[in-house]
């Protein structure tokens, strides 16, 4: 049934859905790497839960989120080590996955939700897509909270590392 929603999403894409999402994220003036990535996580999760095909490593993480997260760190600490750059890339990509995986089943027509329904119905259980979608909300919220804490811990790790470096100088 989710096939039926594709024409609408396709039209919205042609008329600038992704471009406006980029505008929205650009507006966010977040001071730290962890916060930039966290804002993306929230937007990505909401989009996934609403069946908007917003995310993607090629479309968002590489051109937008990673550069913004890198820039936030450069503004704060100056030149970054290669290891730091790699870590920021890793976190940027990871949060794309967190938002995508754990929130997508909140949409009734998502392929995961329909798989759960059809598997259980074939086994004689009486469940429907609305029930599964509702029951997927708690874990989506938890995933966002856990992801944000994880990102903020990265900020703390960086400030510890770079403070120590400046101390040595």
């Amino acid at each position: 049934m989710f096939v039926l929603t594709l024409p609408v999403i396709g039209i919205c894409e042609r008329y600038g859905l992704k471009d406006k999402a980029v505008d929205l994220i650009r507006k966010a003036k977040a001071a730290t790497t962890g916060r930039v990535i966290s804002i993306y996580l929230v937007i990505r999760a909401i989009a996934a839960g609403m069946s908007l095909r917003l995310g993607g490593h090629p479309e968002f993480v590489r051109p937008l989120i990673n550069p913004m997260a890198q820039a936030a760190a450069v503004a704060k600490y100056g030149k970054l080590t290669e290891k730091t750059e790699d870590e920021i890339k890793g976190y940027s990509s990871a949060n794309e996955n967190f938002g995508n995986f754990f929130a997508q089943n909140c949409f009734m027509g998502s392929s995961g939700t329909l798989l759960i329904v059809s598997t259980l119905v074939e086994q004689g259980q009486n469940v429907d897509a609305l029930q599964i979608a509702k029951m997927s909300i708690p874990i989506a919220v938890i995933a966002v909270v856990v992801g944000i804490i994880h990102n903020l811990l990265l900020d703390r790790k960086f400030s510890g590392q770079y403070a120590a470096k400046q101390g040595v100088k």
């Binding site: 009734m108 995961g112 259980q125």
Partner: protein, 306 residues
């Protein structure tokens, strides 16, 4: 046939038409080497969706075998699409502004509303929400109706054969039950689960989902096997709420997806895309979250399901 069945037959026929459009698009793409087999894939698929209820089971079975064979032999490829250029979408975006979100968001809300307040069933509610979204797209965005066909076919081709995976995997679960694979897994697991220990059963189900997903690289395939083998006999048959077990079962599998290089398109290919030094940096960044999420799944399932 009840009204609900008639409505869903109409929706399935529309889906069939979308498949036909993808097939025609493939057939017209003369640069595509596999255009005949690609078109055949989509036409056969469309045939099963449109004529499905009037066919004897064996014909549907043969169709599915042909489709599976074409996919396995990699005879199905994406054909050339009319992809809107970045300049076009940028120009449209500047003209329309945030209104472009309205039809897309309307789908999600209309689906929930239709499922809650109308009596057509949750499955038809998704179809109804798509109709609402499309109507709004034509009114708010003022898109020409032709776009529904071209952009719908473009995205469907993009999703490709993976789009029908859920239905095939659900059938796989039934097959496992029929072949007794579920019984084999459950008799093996029953050694581990002490009689009546709900917590242990929850832990084994969630970990089983994650481990199987790590091996297969795909939570969907793990879900039908592990749910039939462990979820049904040790949780649902013991009184666990099937909605909770199903919803949290699949995402428990996704904790495994976060840990495995087998899920290359999520964990490995992006690191090439971002030119990282460490190929596994994404998986390393995900491990702590995956572990915490696993614990969260176990606790949530234990407290919500019983």
């Amino acid at each position: 046939m009840s009204t609900n069945q008639i409505i869903s037959e109409v929706f399935y026929s529309i889906i069939g038409i979308i498949f036909i459009l993808v097939g025609l698009k493939g057939l017209r793409d003369t640069a595509l080497k596999t255009r005949i087999t690609t078109a055949a894939f989509w036409f056969i698929l469309a045939f099963t969706f449109i004529a499905g209820p009037h066919l004897p089971y064996w014909i549907t079975g043969v169709c599915i075998l042909v489709i599976a064979a074409l996919t396995a032999l990699k005879r199905v490829e994406q054909s050339k699409s009319d992809v809107p250029s970045p300049e076009v979408t940028r120009k449209n975006a500047d003209k329309l502004g945030y209104k472009v979100f309205i039809p897309a968001l309307a789908i999600a809300f209309a689906a929930v509303l239709a499922a809650t307040f109308l009596s057509f069933g949750a499955n038809n509610a998704i179809g109804i929400s798509a109709v609402v979204g499309l109507t709004l797209a034509l009114i708010v965005i003022k898109a020409p109706p032709k776009s529904a066909a071209t952009d719908g076919a473009r995205l469907m081709d993009n999703v490709g054969s993976l789009g029908i995976l859920p239905q095939l995997l659900a059938a796989l679960g039934t097959l496992f039950t029929a072949a007794g694979v579920g019984d084999v897994i459950s008799s093996g697991v029953s050694v581990l689960v002490p009689e009546g220990s709900r917590l242990v059963a929850v832990i084994i189900y969630c970990l089983g989902m994650a481990l199987f997903t790590i091996i297969m690289g795909n939570g969907f395939a793990a879900f039908s096997v592990i749910t039939v083998g462990i979820g049904l006999p040790f949780l649902i048959a013991q009184g666990a709420n099937p909605v909770v077990v199903g919803a949290l079962g699949l995402t428990a599998g996704y904790c495994g997806t976060l840990c495995t290089p087998m899920a290359a398109n999520f964990n490995i290919m992006p690191s090439a895309l971002l030119e990282t030094n460490d190929k596994y940096i994404i998986i390393k960044s995900q491990l702590p979250v995956a572990a915490v999420m696993m614990v969260a799944h176990i606790l949530l399932m234990y407290f919500l399901a019983f």
